[in-house]
């Protein structure tokens, strides 16, 4: 039974993943994606630089301050020429960051303006995984967008993500709950950021950005929460002994056996009678 449930669950999960990939993610932001639009939020992870963000020449975000994460906005799918200027210098000056970003239809994405490992401003588009998580679980994604070497992420002192480098991410599903997390230099116990409590709510995805600069000693964590990825549990096994079923079972069995007994007695009597008649 357990095996069967697992298989069914796996098949269901597979089917969901497929449909999510081609159509509408079951996220809370899905309204924006009904018509194929992408849902895009922007994270500013370049310390000390207030900026204006332009997309295809139009100002998308004015006075955007470091450490800020925008609410998701609906965006038409396509390729965007993103230019990020120091506050008030756009759109005709020299951008601090310029990059062409491909936004797929229906995607849930986060654009992160951040430092690369060497400390130069750059832009990375991350696609947020909004596929369902199993009941009781939460998704945790860690993104390394800091001017810092490779890191490990620990939960309760135990590494859960190893050797993560800028600008990469790692994702895992963990039991829902609060974890005490910190970021250490890869393979060491040298704490670079934290510790911090992360509230990983069931059926949600928590994205943690490690940002800032190790050299400038302003490394920090920023979290983004995306909801609506909850799924139903595999079932409810709410019985033990079969007492509720066995009332009838035992009654019919008793009937059957007493009938068998009656037949045996009748047969015995008949045989005796015949023998008596024969004698």
């Amino acid at each position: 039974m357990t095996n069967r449930i697992r298989k069914t669950a796996a098949a269901t999960a597979g089917a969901c993943a497929l449909s999510l990939a081609v159509s509408v993610p079951a996220s809370a932001e899905s309204a924006a994606q009904e018509d194929g639009k992408a849902s895009v939020s922007v994270f500013h992870g370049v310390p000390g630089l207030t900026v204006d963000v332009f997309a295809n020449g139009n100002e998308l975000l004015p006075d955007f301050k470091p450490g800020t994460l925008t609410e998701p906005q609906p965006l038409d799918p396509g390729t965007y020429d993103i230019k990020i200027f120091p506050d008030g210098e756009g759109p005709d000056g020299t951008p601090a960051i310029q990059k062409s970003v491909d936004v797929p239809a229906g995607a849930n994405a986060t654009l992160a303006a951040h430092l690369d490992a060497q400390g130069n401003p750059t832009l990375t588009a991350f696609v947020n995984d909004t596929s369902e998580v199993p009941a009781g679980q939460a998704r945790l994604t860690v993104r390394h967008v800091a001017a810092a070497p490779a890191v490990d992420v620990r939960a309760g002192g135990k590494p859960i993500v190893r050797d993560l480098t800028n600008p990469h991410e790692k994702s895992l599903e963990v039991p829902a709950g609060t974890v005490n997390a910190d970021v250490v230099l890869a393979g060491t116990d040298t704490v670079a950021i934290g510790p911090a409590d992360l509230d990983l709510a069931e059926g949600t995805s928590t994205v943690v950005y490690a940002w800032g600069s190790a050299k400038d000693k302003n490394l920090a964590l920023k979290t983004q929460t995306i909801g609506g990825m909850n799924s139903a549990p595999n079932g409810v096994d709410a019985g033990e002994s079969g007492a509720m079923a066995s009332d009838n079972e035992s009654a019919t069995a008793w009937l059957a056996w007493s009938a068998a007994g009656a037949v045996a007695v009748a047969g015995l009597l008949a045989a005796r009678r015949m023998r008596a008649r024969g004698d």
Binding site: A135, A176, A232, G239, A256
Partner: protein, 222 residues
């Protein structure tokens, strides 16, 4: 000599009687050996939907439209369940999921579990789920066995930790295969409903025990 040949050929009436008895016996045996399902109570009412079917909007939109109030602060946790007409009384503890992905059920068959990842009774949206054993390991019936006796219109009360009790009225009951629980049972959006779940026959020890779930639905009492 004649008598011995007579004993070898029983009278036609005796053969006929034996045949009848054999047929009855066979029928009884077949009846007793088939999975018992005769004590499953009948369904009534219709399962409360997230929305009236008339709206016909895709679920993605429904999620958004009605999901507004679902995370509005921590809801008060349920502490006790009562269905007075069938003398059902159970203390309620919160439960999560087991490693196999099924819902935890309190070991004590006299207690009910509230599925804490879903809405709480009294929440403005979604299906608040309470679960209880129909029987325990010793063969005694559990508190939720009384659900076999509920009727449409029965009053249900859920007491809460730091809020007034929530009152419901039973509107429907159904029995489903336990690997085919309706998606609606664990929905977190749409019209509020209280869903009570226990197990139902047939019981098959070789295949994980009870094969079906009994579901009772109650809507907030006006």
């Amino acid at each position: 000599m004649r008598s011995s040949t007579g004993a070898g050929r029983p009278p036609a009436a005796a053969v006929g009687a034996a045949a009848v008895v054999a047929v009855v016996l066979a029928a009884l045996l077949v009846w007793s050996l088939r999975p018992s399902g005769t004590s499953v109570p009948s369904d009534f009412g219709t399962r409360p939907r997230a929305q009236e079917p008339v709206t016909g909007v895709s679920s993605g939109v429904l999620d958004d439209a009605s999901g507004e109030g679902k995370t509005s602060g921590p809801a008060s946790e349920p502490t006790a369940l009562r269905v007075p007409r069938v003398s059902l009384e159970a203390r309620v503890q919160d439960v999560g999921v087991r490693n196999d992905g099924t819902v935890e059920v309190p070991d004590d068959a006299e207690q009910a579990g509230w599925y804490r990842f879903g809405p709480a009774p009294g929440a403005s949206a979604g299906s608040a789920v309470l679960i209880g054993h129909v029987d325990d390991r010793t063969g005694d019936l559990g508190a939720f066995a009384k659900l076999y006796g509920v009727r449409k219109g029965d009053a249900v009360t859920v007491a809460r930790g730091d809020a007034t009790p929530v009152r419901y009225e039973v509107t429907a009951r159904e029995v489903v295969d336990k690997d085919r629980l309706p998606d609606d049972v664990f929905r977190r959006h749409g019209r509020p409903v209280l869903t009570l779940i226990t197990c139902a026959p047939p019981y098959d020890r070789e295949h994980g025990g009870y094969q079906r779930n009994l579901l009772v639905y109650a809507v907030p009492a006006g």
